[in-house]
Subunit: 159 residues, 2 copies
DNA sequence: TTCTCGGCTGGGCATTCTGCTCAGTGACCG
DNA sequence: CGGTCACTGAGCAGAATGCCCAGCCGAGAA
C-alpha cells in the first residue's frame, strides 16, 4: 500500500484543484485517462483517499472560537463519556490519549462567552472528573496533508 | 451569512455523497438545478464551504500513529518556531493557544519509535523550551461537522 | 396599492465529461 | 515461452455542465 510517485502527484493535484475531472487530471499528469481513473479508484479503495466531503469552515457558520479540552475520566466511564460527547454538536472530534488527560477534544463556540456554555455542557456529565481548556488564538498551520503525501511519495517505505 | 435550512441540507447531502453532481443534488433536494447551483456557489464564495479537497488518511500512507504535542515557546521566538514547524511534514496542524502551553500541534509518525524521531525534530529547535506529548489511542469521534451544520441550520442566529 | 427586486422555476442549447469497452504494447515472472 | 499486469489510445452512448432566457411570486419600498 505504498504511495507511488504518480499517486502523490494525483493527490497533490486534487488537493490544489479539487474540481477538475478525471480527464483534465490525466491531461495535466501526462497519462492516459484510464490510468488516472484506475489510480484514483485504487487510492479510494485502498482507503488512502477517504472521500471528497466539503470542507466547512465553522467560523463561517458562526462558530469562530476553537478550543481544545483535555478531560480526565472516572474509571470505567469511558464509553458513557464518549456517548455523551457524541451528542454535543460543538464537539468536532474526540480522541483518547495517553498522558495527563484521558481524552482530548476539539470544541467550537459562537463566542468566548458561548464557550463557557459548551464547556459546561461537555463537563456536565458524571463520568468526567476534570477538564482543562486551551483556547486557540491563531492557526499558523491549518490542517494539511500535502507535505506528508510528498514525503510518502518519495521514499519506498510502506505500511 | 446565516445558514439557511436548504443550505444545511445541501452540506449534509454533499458530506454524505460527495460525488453527486449539481443535477442529482437538485433532484434529491426537490429544487431546480439553477437554485442548487446558486446556493452552492454562494456557500463557496461565502467561505462556508472552503473546498472539496481529498481527505487523505495518514494511516494508509504509512503513518498510523497520531499524537498531540503541547509546546512552550521562549519569549519572542514564536515566528521562528512557526516557520520551523511548517517545514516538518509530520506536523499536520499547529495552533497557538492560551493556557499552560503556548502552542499545540498534531503529529503523525510511522510508529511509536518513529514518533520519537519526529518529536526530536520538532523540539530540536532553539525557541522551544518544553514539550509534552499525548499519544492518541482511539478516535471515537473523527473530525465531523454535520451535527454543527444541522444546528446552525436550525436557529436563526448568525455571525 | 403599486412597483421593483431577488430568489426560484422550468426549459433549451452546445460543449464536455463520464462510464465502459476494446485492441495493442512493454515489463516482469514462473 | 506463456501469463499477468499496467498503461496507452481510441471510440461510443448517455449524462452532466455552463450558460442563457422567460415567467412566477413574495417581500419590502414608494
Amino acid at each position: 500500500m505504498a504511495i507511488d510517485h504518480l499517486d502523490g502527484r494525483i493527490i497533490v493535484l486534487l488537493a490544489r484543484e479539487p474540481r477538475i475531472g478525471v480527464l483534465e487530471m490525466s491531461r495535466r499528469l501526462g497519462v492516459a485517462r484510464g490510468t488516472a481513473q484506475a489510480r484514483l479508484d485504487r487510492l479510494q479503495s485502498n482507503g488512502v483517499i477517504r472521500g471528497f466531503g466539503p470542507e466547512v469552515d465553522p467560523a463561517a457558520l458562526g462558530y469562530p472560537v476553537t478550543a481544545f479540552a483535555t478531560l480526565q475520566i472516572r474509571q470505567g466511564q469511558g464509553a458513557d463519556v464518549r456517548a455523551h460527547l457524541t451528542t454535543v454538536p460543538e464537539v468536532l472530534e474526540l480522541h483518547t490519549t495517553t498522558g495527563t488527560g484521558d481524552m482530548m477534544c476539539r470544541l467550537v463556540a459562537r463566542s468566548n462567552a458561548d464557550l463557557q456554555r459548551v464547556i459546561d455542557r461537555v463537563v456536565g456529565f458524571d463520568g468526567i472528573v476534570r477538564a482543562s481548556t486551551a483556547i486557540v488564538m491563531e492557526n499558523p498551520v491549518p490542517l494539511r496533508i500535502i507535505p506528508l503525501v510528498e514525503q510518502a511519495a518519495e521514499d519506498p517505505a510502506s505500511s
